[in-house]
C-alpha cells in the first residue's frame, strides 16, 4: 500500500508559506530560475540546497546548513515522489498530500465528501461539511498536471452537488489537459434534470465518461442499497438524459450479499433497457468505510456467486456490450469469463496475499484491496 498523505514532515528552515501551497515536483536542482517558485524540489542526496524553489523536500536524513526558507524534511512514506508529481503542502500542520502521481495507474480527485445517497457499502462515507477547498485544489492542480497523462478521475461523495462548479471542473480539465480522458464517478441522480446533462455535453470534453452505479433491477432493492427513496428512478432518468445528450455512460455494479442473487436479472435488465451504455463494470466489494462496518451483512465470497457472475457477463457480452470484471482475483472467476477481468485496483491500495506467491497468473491478476487482506475468500488458490 502506498500512502498518499502524511503529517510526519518536519521543518528544516523557516516556513514562509501562510496558505496551503500546491506545486509540481521536480528532482532537477538546476531548474531555470523563472520556474522555481511554482515547483517543489525533492532532494534525495546532498546537503547543498538551491534557492528560489517554492518548497524544498529533503528525502534524506542528513543535516543541512545554510538552508533557504521553506525546506522540509520529507516523511519516509512520501519519499517515492518524483518528477511531475503534484503535491499540496499545509504550512500550519506540515501535512503533504500527493494530489497527482505521474506513474500511478489511476489519478483521482476527491471533490467533495457530501452526498445525496447513503450507500450501505460506501467506501467513502458521506460527511456534511463545507469542503469547497477540494474544488479549489483541483482547479489549482490541473494546470500542473503532465499533459501526456492518459486519464484523471473526479470522485466524491457526489460531485454533481457542486452544480455550476462541477461544470467548471470539467471545463478546466478540458482547458488544461486537452489530451487527457476524464472519468467522473456520480450516482447520476442529479442528471434527472436534463439541464445538467446538457451543460456537461456543451463543454464538449474530448473524452469524458460518467460512471454510474446501478445495484438492482427493481427500485425497492436499489433504493435500499443506496438508502434513498426514488434513487432508482432518478438514476435511470439521469442515464437516459446523459445518453440523450450523447455523453458516454458506464454502469458500475458493486456485488455483495444483498444483490448477488439478482445479478443475472440485473444483467438482463441492462441488456434490454440500457443497451446504449458504453461499458458495464461488475465490481468486487472494497471493505472500507461502511462496507467495512457493515461487512457481516455485505460480505460474500466471490467464489459463491460465480454462477451469477458468469450468467451476467455472458448476457451482457452476447448483447454486444462492453463488460469488465473489476476487483476480483482471477482464481475466483470462472475460467470462461476470466478474459473480462481487468487489473482495476489503484496501485496505492493494491496488494497480494502470501498465497499468491508463485502464482503464474499474478501479472494478469488484479489482486486485492489492501483493506480486504483480513477478510478473504476461502477459495484463493495460486495457478501452477
Amino acid at each position: 500500500m502506498i500512502r498518499l498523505h502524511s503529517k510526519s514532515n518536519t521543518p528544516v528552515s523557516i516556513v514562509e508559506h501562510q496558505k496551503p501551497f500546491i506545486g509540481k515536483v521536480t528532482l532537477n536542482r538546476n531548474l531555470p530560475n523563472g520556474l522555481r517558485a511554482q515547483h517543489v524540489l525533492v532532494i534525495s542526496e546532498g546537503t547543498e540546497i538551491p534557492m528560489g524553489f517554492g518548497l524544498v523536500l529533503l528525502a534524506h536524513d542528513e543535516e543541512v546548513n545554510d538552508c533557504p526558507p521553506n525546506a522540509i524534511r520529507l516523511s519516509q512514506e512520501l519519499r517515492y515522489l518524483k518528477d511531475h508529481d503534484v503535491i499540496k503542502f499545509y504550512p500550519d500542520i506540515l501535512k503533504i498530500d500527493a494530489l497527482f502521481r505521474k506513474d500511478a495507474n489511476a489519478n483521482s480527485f476527491l471533490v467533495t465528501e457530501r452526498c445525496n445517497s447513503f450507500c450501505i457499502m460506501c467506501s467513502q462515507p458521506p460527511k456534511e461539511i463545507d469542503d469547497h477547498y477540494l474544488v479549489d485544489d483541483m482547479l489549482a492542480a490541473l494546470p500542473l498536471i503532465h499533459p501526456e497523462t492518459h486519464e484523471i478521475a473526479i470522485t466524491g461523495g457526489e460531485p454533481t452537488l457542486w452544480g455550476d462548479d462541477f461544470i467548471r471542473l470539467i471545463q478546466a480539465a478540458k482547458n488544461h489537459l486537452p489530451n487527457t480522458g476524464l472519468h467522473i464517478l456520480s450516482n447520476g441522480r442529479n442528471f434527472k434534470d436534463l439541464n445538467l446533462a446538457i451543460q456537461v455535453a456543451q463543454v464538449r470534453h474530448q473524452d469524458v465518461m460518467i460512471g454510474i452505479p446501478l445495484y438492482a433491477d427493481y427500485s425497492q432493492l436499489h433504493d435500499f442499497i443506496v438508502q434513498a427513496d426514488n434513487a432508482f428512478d432518478d438514476t435511470i432518468r439521469g442515464i437516459l438524459n446523459l445518453k440523450r445528450c450523447q455523453v458516454p455512460v458506464e454502469i458500475r455494479i458493486v456485488i455483495h450479499q444483498k444483490n448477488f442473487h439478482r445479478l443475472p436479472k440485473l444483467a438482463e435488465f441492462i441488456a434490454r433497457n440500457l443497451l446504449f451504455v458504453n461499458h458495464v463494470a461488475l465490481m468486487g466489494l472494497e471493505l472500507m468505510g461502511f462496507a467495512k462496518s457493515n461487512q457481516d451483512g455485505l460480505w460474500v465470497d466471490p467464489y459463491d456467486y460465480q454462477n451469477e457472475l458468469h450468467y451476467a457477463v455472458e448476457t451482457l457480452a452476447r448483447a454486444g456490450m462492453r463488460v469488465s470484471i473489476y476487483n476480483t482475483p482471477l482464481c475466483l472467476i470462472p475460467e470462461s469469463i476470466r478474459c473480462y477481468a481487468v487489473r482495476s485496483i489503484s496501485d496505492w491500495k493494491n496488494d497480494y496475499l502470501d498465497a499468491c506467491l508463485g502464482c503464474s497468473a499474478k501479472e494478469q491478476c488484479g489482486g486485492f484491496f489492501s483493506s480486504n487482506l483480513t477478510k478473504v475468500s476461502q477459495n484463493i488458490k495460486a495457478f501452477g
Binding site: 447513503f118 450501505i120 433491477d217 427493481y218 427500485s219 425497492q220 432493492l221 433504493d223 435500499f224 438508502q227 434513498a228 427513496d229 426514488n230 432508482f232 428512478d233 435511470i236 432518468r237 437516459l240 444483498k258 439478482r262 436479472k265 438482463e268 435488465f269 441488456a271 434490454r272 433497457n273 443497451l275 461502511f290 462496518s293 457493515n294 457481516d296 451483512g297 455485505l298 455472458e314 452476447r318 448483447a319
Partner: protein, 489 residues
C-alpha cells in the same frame, strides 16, 4: 435480518408502494404445453409461467417481496407505486423495435432472366428457352430499377440476383454491380451483392468477378444425390455432382463464408432430415435451413392438406434439429437457420430483417422484386403468384411508375395496414406476437384473403409449433440452451 449498522434503514422502509398493489402493463400469453404459458410484453421480453402464476398475475394476487413479483416488475409486466420509469423505458424499447421500419427497403431482388437449365419440380417461374431476348432483363430496365434502389433511405442495401438461373445473364450482373457501385460513390451505402444460382455455369470469370466485388453465392442443395436430382432435374441428370463440385470450387476461391446453400423441402425430403444434414456436413457448409413445404403451386388448391402437412414437416424439423444439436455437442459449430432466427427474435431488442416474419409485413418495406420485364413485386412470393396467373401484388413497372407510385400504391398500403398483427383476430392476443409476423401473400394464396383465419393457417400452425419447441428447449434443456445461445449474434 439485514445485519447493517443502526443508521441504516431496512428494505421495507424504501418501498413506497402499497404491498401487493400493482398495475398491469400490456402483455399477451399463449400456452406452450399442458402446464405452462409464455407471457410476453409489448417489446418481446418474456417469462415462462404456470397457469396459476398467470392467473395470479392478472388477478393482481402476486405477493410482494417474492422473486416472481420482482421478475414481473423488472421485465415490465407490472408496475407499482415505488417507481415510475417503466413507461419511459417501454417507450424507448418500442421505438428501438420500430426503427427497422424507418430504415425501409434494404433487400432488392433483381430477376435478371427467367431462363434456366434446370426443371425443378417446385419452381413456378423458370422458362426453358434459348431466346435470350424474351426473358432477359435489359440494361435499360436495370437502370430504372437502380434508380429506385438508391431512393431507399436504408443505410444498407443488399442486391440479390435471382432468376431462372441468373448466371445465364451474367453480363447484366456485371453491368448492374458496376453501375450500382458507381452510383454508390455518391450514396455511400453499405452495399452488398448476392447471386442465387444453381452454380452449373460457375467458371473462373464468374469467380474472379465475385472475388473482386465481394459477392456472396447462394445455391440450392436439397440433400443426398438421389433426393437432390429427383427434386431438381436437369439435362444430363448430373445436378448434384455439378453442384457439389462447384460449391467446393467456390469455397476454395472465395472463402467458405462467402458460399451458402439452402434446401427446398419436398415430400421426399421429409423422411431423411439426417441424410440431408450429412450432405451439408460433407460439403463443408456450416448451416442448414430446414424450410417448410411451400404452399405455392400444388397446395393452393388443397389448403387443408397443406395445413396437415405441417405436422409431418414439424417431425422432420425436430429430427433435423436434434441431429444439429448432436453435431454441436460433438464440438462442431453448425446452425439451423430458422431456429437461429427464432432464438434471435426471442432474445433481441431489435427487429430482425427476415422478410417473411415481420409485422408490418416485409412486403415492399423490407424487400422488393424487380422482374426481368420491369414489373415490380412486393415480394418473391408475389412474383410466384403472378406466374401462376394472379398479379394482385404487382405494384407497378420501373418504366412507367415512380417511387411514390410503387411504394404508396393502394394495393400495398391497404395490404400493409390491414395485416398488422396487433389488429388481427387471434394474433392480437397471441403470446408469440412479438416474435411472429404477418404474411399477406401466403394467406392470400392459401385462403384467398390477406388476413386469413389463423386457425386454418399453415403459417400460424408452423410458427406456433416452432416457438413452443424453441421456448421449451431454452427453458428445460441446458445443453440445447447453450448451443442455441451460441447462435445469437
Amino acid at each position: 435480518m439485514s445485519l447493517l449498522g443502526k443508521k441504516f434503514k431496512l428494505i421495507e422502509d424504501f418501498d413506497q408502494s402499497i404491498a401487493g398493489d400493482y398495475q398491469l402493463l400490456p402483455s399477451r400469453f399463449s400456452a406452450i404445453d399442458k402446464n405452462r404459458y409464455v407471457l410476453s410484453n409489448e417489446v418481446g421480453e418474456y417469462l415462462v409461467v404456470t397457469r396459476l402464476q398467470l392467473e395470479n398475475f392478472i388477478r393482481k394476487k402476486v405477493p410482494a417481496n417474492t422473486d416472481f413479483y420482482y421478475d414481473l416488475k423488472s421485465k415490465h409486466f407490472l408496475f407499482d407505486g415505488d417507481s415510475n420509469v417503466a413507461i419511459d423505458l417501454l417507450a424507448l424499447k418500442y421505438r428501438t423495435k420500430a426503427q427497422r421500419i424507418a430504415q425501409f427497403t434494404a433487400l432488392h431482388l433483381f430477376v435478371v432472366t427467367l431462363r434456366c437449365d434446370y426443371t425443378c419440380q417446385y419452381c413456378q417461374v423458370s422458362r426453358q428457352t434459348d431466346d435470350k431476348h424474351a426473358f432477359d432483363m435489359s440494361e435499360e430496365t436495370a437502370n430504372k430499377a437502380l434508380d429506385l434502389v438508391f431512393k431507399s433511405p436504408s443505410p444498407a442495401i443488399k442486391i440479390e440476383f435471382q432468376g431462372g438461373e441468373p448466371l445465364l445473364n451474367f453480363s447484366l450482373i456485371r453491368y448492374i454491380v458496376n453501375e450500382a457501385k458507381q452510383r454508390n460513390l455518391l450514396s455511400r451505402k453499405d452495399l452488398q451483392f448476392v447471386i442465387t444460382t444453381n452454380l452449373s455455369l460457375l467458371n473462373d470469370a464468374v469467380l474472379e468477378f465475385c472475388q473482386q466485388h465481394d459477392i456472396y453465392l447462394s445455391t440450392s442443395l436439397d440433400g443426398p444425390e438421389k433426393l437432390h436430382n429427383g427434386n431438381r432435374p436437369r439435362p444430363g441428370k448430373n445436378g448434384y455432382q455439378l453442384t457439389v463440385t462447384a460449391i467446393k470450387k467456390a469455397q476454395d476461391y472465395l472463402g467458405r463464408h462467402k458460399v451458402g446453400a439452402l434446401m427446398t423441402t419436398t415430400e421426399n425430403s421429409l423422411t431423411q432430415p439426417k441424410a440431408i444434414i450429412d450432405t451439408y456436413l460433407e460439403n463443408n457448409l456450416d448451416s442448414v435451413f430446414l424450410r417448410p413445404l411451400s404452399p405455392y403451386g400444388f397446395a393452393v388448391k388443397n389448403q387443408k392438406a397443406h395445413h396437415y402437412d405441417i405436422d409431418r414437416w414439424f417431425e422432420f424439423y425436430k429430427e433435423g434439429l436434434d441431429y444439429v444439436f448432436e453435431i454441436n455437442r460433438q464440438g462442431h459449430h453448425f446452425e439451423e437457420l430458422y431456429t437461429q432466427l427464432i432464438v434471435n427474435k426471442l432474445l433481441s431488442p431489435f427487429s430482425l430483417g427476415y422478410v417473411d416474419l415481420q409485422s408490418p409485413s416485409g412486403a415492399a418495406i423490407s424487400a422488393i422484386v424487380y422482374n426481368y420485364d420491369g414489373d415490380v413485386y412486393a415480394s418473391d412470393e408475389s412474383r410466384m403468384l403472378a406466374e401462376m396467373g394472379d398479379k394482385k401484388f404487382r405494384l407497378g413497372n420501373v418504366h412507367t411508375d415512380s417511387y411514390p407510385d410503387i411504394w404508396l400504391s393502394n394495393t400495398l398500403l391497404d395490404t400493409l395496414e390491414s395485416t398488422v398483427s396487433e389488429s388481427l383476430p387471434m394474433c392480437t392476443d397471441c403470446g408469440f406476437l412479438p416474435y411472429c409476423g404477418t404474411d399477406p401473400v401466403y394467406h392470400y394464396a392459401t385462403q384467398g384473403d390477406v388476413v386469413g383465419h389463423k386457425a386454418l393457417s399453415g403459417f400460424c400452425s408452423k410458427n406456433m409449433k416452432i416457438f413452443k419447441h424453441v421456448i421449451q428447449l431454452l427453458e428445460d434443456d441446458t445443453e440445447a440452451r447453450e448451443i442455441l445461445l451460441s447462435w445469437v449474434h
